[in-house]
Amino acid sequence: MTTTHDAPPSGPVERTDEGAQELTSADVAAGAARLIERGCVLRMSESEAAVASEEQVPDDETMIINMGPQHPSTHGVLRLMLELHGETVLRCKPIIGYLHTGMERTGEELTYLQGPTNVTRMDYASPLFTELAFSLTVERLLDIEVPERAVWIRMLMTEMNRISSHLLFMATNGMDLGAVSMMLYGWREREEALRFLQEVTGLRMNHNYIRPGGVAADLPDGWRDGVLRLLDMLPERLQEYDTLLNQQPIWRERLQGIGTITAEECLALGVTGPILRATGYDWDLRRDMPYLAFDQVDFDVVVGSYGDCFDRYAIRLAEIHESMRIVRQCLEKMPKGDYRIQDKKVTPPPRARIDESMEALIHHFKIFTEGFKVPEGEAYCAIESPRGELGCYIVSDGTSKPYRMHIRGPSFVNIQSLPHLMHGGLVADGVAIISSVDPILGEVDR
C-alpha cells in the first residue's frame, strides 16, 4: 500500500481491510449478492426473489461502466458504477465520498456559536435549513425558546430558501434533460430569490444567519418590498414553466413512467421528502410534526400518484406555490419584537453597550472566544428540508463545544434509492432519475 504519511499516526489506530468499494464484476458476484445489489438493497418477498433470480443475463454480455465523478449530470461528484446489458441498466452502485471533508468532526472542534458556519456548507443549495436544524437542536439542549419574531423570520427565510432550492432543481432538471432554456429561466428566478436572501443575510449562500438563540440580524428596512416583488413576479414565471415543460410532449415522454418507486419501497429505503410524496404518501414534517410555527399557517401538502420522475418534478413545482403561500402569511403575521433571545448566557450584549461597559466587553469576549456552555445531554431535531427529513443529533458533555454532532442528510439517504430506480431503465433515463432525486453532494459527503 502506498500512502504518503510523514509520521505514523500517534495512538492505537487499527489497520483495517475494508475491501474495494466498487461494484463486483457480474461473474464474481454470487447470485444472492447480485440480487441484493440489483434489487437494490430492497427487501423482496420470496416470490419476487424467485422471479428476479430467473432473470438470467449472460455474464459475458454485460459491461460495467463508470459514470462520474466528473459527469456533468451527476450534480457534482457522484460516481455511479453501472452494469449494462446493451442500453439497459442492470445494477448500479453509487460511490460517494469525493467531497468528504469531515464536517461532523469539524463540528466537534467548533463552539455552538461557530457551528452554523460549518453546517451551512453541507447542503449548499438550501443552507438555511441545516442551520435551522442545528440551532433547533442546540436550543432544545439549552431548553430555551426563541422570541416569536425570530420564529417567524426563520419561517420566512427557510421558505424563501425552499423556493430558491426548488428553482435550482427546475434549472438543473431542465439542463439534464436537454431543456437548456429552462436552465436559464430557473437560474434567473433563483437569482431573484437569492437577491432577497442577500439583502437580509448579506450573502447569497452559506448565510450563517440562523443561529442558536435566534437569527443573526433583524430584517432590514424595506424587506417587505423585496418579498412582494418576488411574490408578484414568480406566479407569472411559474406559469411560463408550466407552458414550457408540462405541456411539452418531449418533456412528458422523458419523465412520465420513468424511475417509479412505491411508498413501501420508499419507507424501507428510508427515503423522505418529494420522492416519498410523489408516491402518494402524505407525509410532510411541517404539517405532521410541526416545528417553528408551521401549525399556525395554512398550506397544503402536495402528493403525487405514480412515484415517477414527472411526479417528483411536478411536486417541486407545486411546492414553490405552497411556499409562496406560507411566505405571504409570514408577511401578514410577522410579529414585532426581538429577533434573538435576550438571555445573557447565549446572546452577546449589543454593540453600543460594549463602548461604555467593561463587563459587557468581557461578556462579549467570553461568548465569542469560549462560547456558551450547553448542559449535558443529547437531542435530535428534524425539519423538512427541500430534499426530505433533515435531522441533527447533538451530544453535549457540558462544555461549549458539541461532543458529537451528526447531521442526517436527506440526500445521503435518498441516494440509496438510485439503484432501485435505475434498474431496468435506460442509461439516458438514468440521467433523468439522478436529476429527479435531486441530491446535493455537499450533504451526501459532508
Binding site: T3, I36, E104, L269, W283, Y380, V395, D397, F412
Partner: protein
C-alpha cells in the same frame, strides 16, 4: 413517612398510593426521556428482536443511524442506572408515521468487541448509514451485505470520528497516484 409505611406494611399489602409508580415501559424496556424525546436502551442481544417488534408495531422507517464514541466522556448522566456504559453507542432513530411519533434506541457497544447486528434485513435503508458508522467508528455490523468504507478512501487507516483519532496532525493520505511527469 417511609418508616411508618414500613411498620404498617409488615405482613400487609402495601397501600397503592405509597408504592413507587411502576416505571413506564415500552416494548418491555423502561422508557427514558431526553428533552421530551423517548429513548430506549436495549442491549446488543435484545436489539434485533426489538427491531422486529418495532417493525410490527408500525415503526416502518429507520430515519437515522449513527454512532458516538464516549471515550473521553464515559460518565454520561443520561444513562439509566441499570445500563452499563460502554465506549461506543449506536443511536438509531425510528419513526412511526401512523402515530406520528419518534423513538430513539441507544445501544451500548463495547470497545473490545465492536459488533452489532445489522438492521439491513428489516430496514434496507440502513445500508448506507451502517456503512458510514463502520467507516467512521469501526463498528462492525453483522449481516450487512457490503460493509465497506463509504466516505473515506478504501485504503484509509483508522476511523476518523473515534476520539483517539488525532485530528489535524496526520497529513492527508492519498493513494499513490503516479506523477504525470
Amino acid at each position: 413517612m417511609a418508616d411508618d409505611a414500613a411498620d404498617i406494611g409488615a405482613g400487609e399489602v402495601e397501600p397503592e398510593a405509597l408504592r413507587e409508580p411502576a416505571p413506564e415501559t415500552l416494548f418491555g424496556l423502561p422508557v427514558t426521556r431526553s428533552h421530551g424525546q423517548v429513548v430506549l436502551f436495549p442491549s446488543r442481544e435484545e436489539y434485533p428482536a426489538l427491531l422486529a417488534t418495532l417493525h410490527e408495531a408500525g415503526y416502518h422507517q429507520v430515519v437515522d443511524l449513527t454512532g458516538v464514541d464516549y471515550l473521553v466522556h464515559p460518565g454520561r448522566a443520561s444513562l439509566p442506572t441499570d445500563v452499563t456504559a460502554e465506549r461506543f453507542e449506536v443511536v438509531v432513530g425510528l419513526i412511526n408515521h401512523r402515530e406520528r411519533s419518534r423513538l430513539r434506541l441507544r445501544i451500548q457497544v463495547p470497545a473490545s468487541d465492536p459488533r452489532l447486528a445489522s438492521a439491513f434485513e428489516l430496514y434496507p435503508g440502513t445500508e448506507a448509514m451502517e456503512r458510514e458508522t463502520f467507516d467512521m467508528f469501526g463498528i462492525v455490523f453483522d449481516g450487512h451485505p457490503d460493509l465497506t468504507r463509504i466516505l473515506m478512501p478504501e485504503d484509509w487507516i483508522g476511523h476518523p470520528l473515534r476520539k483517539d483519532y488525532d485530528s489535524g496532525r496526520i497529513p492527508v493520505q492519498f493513494k499513490g497516484a503516479p506523477a504525470n511527469r
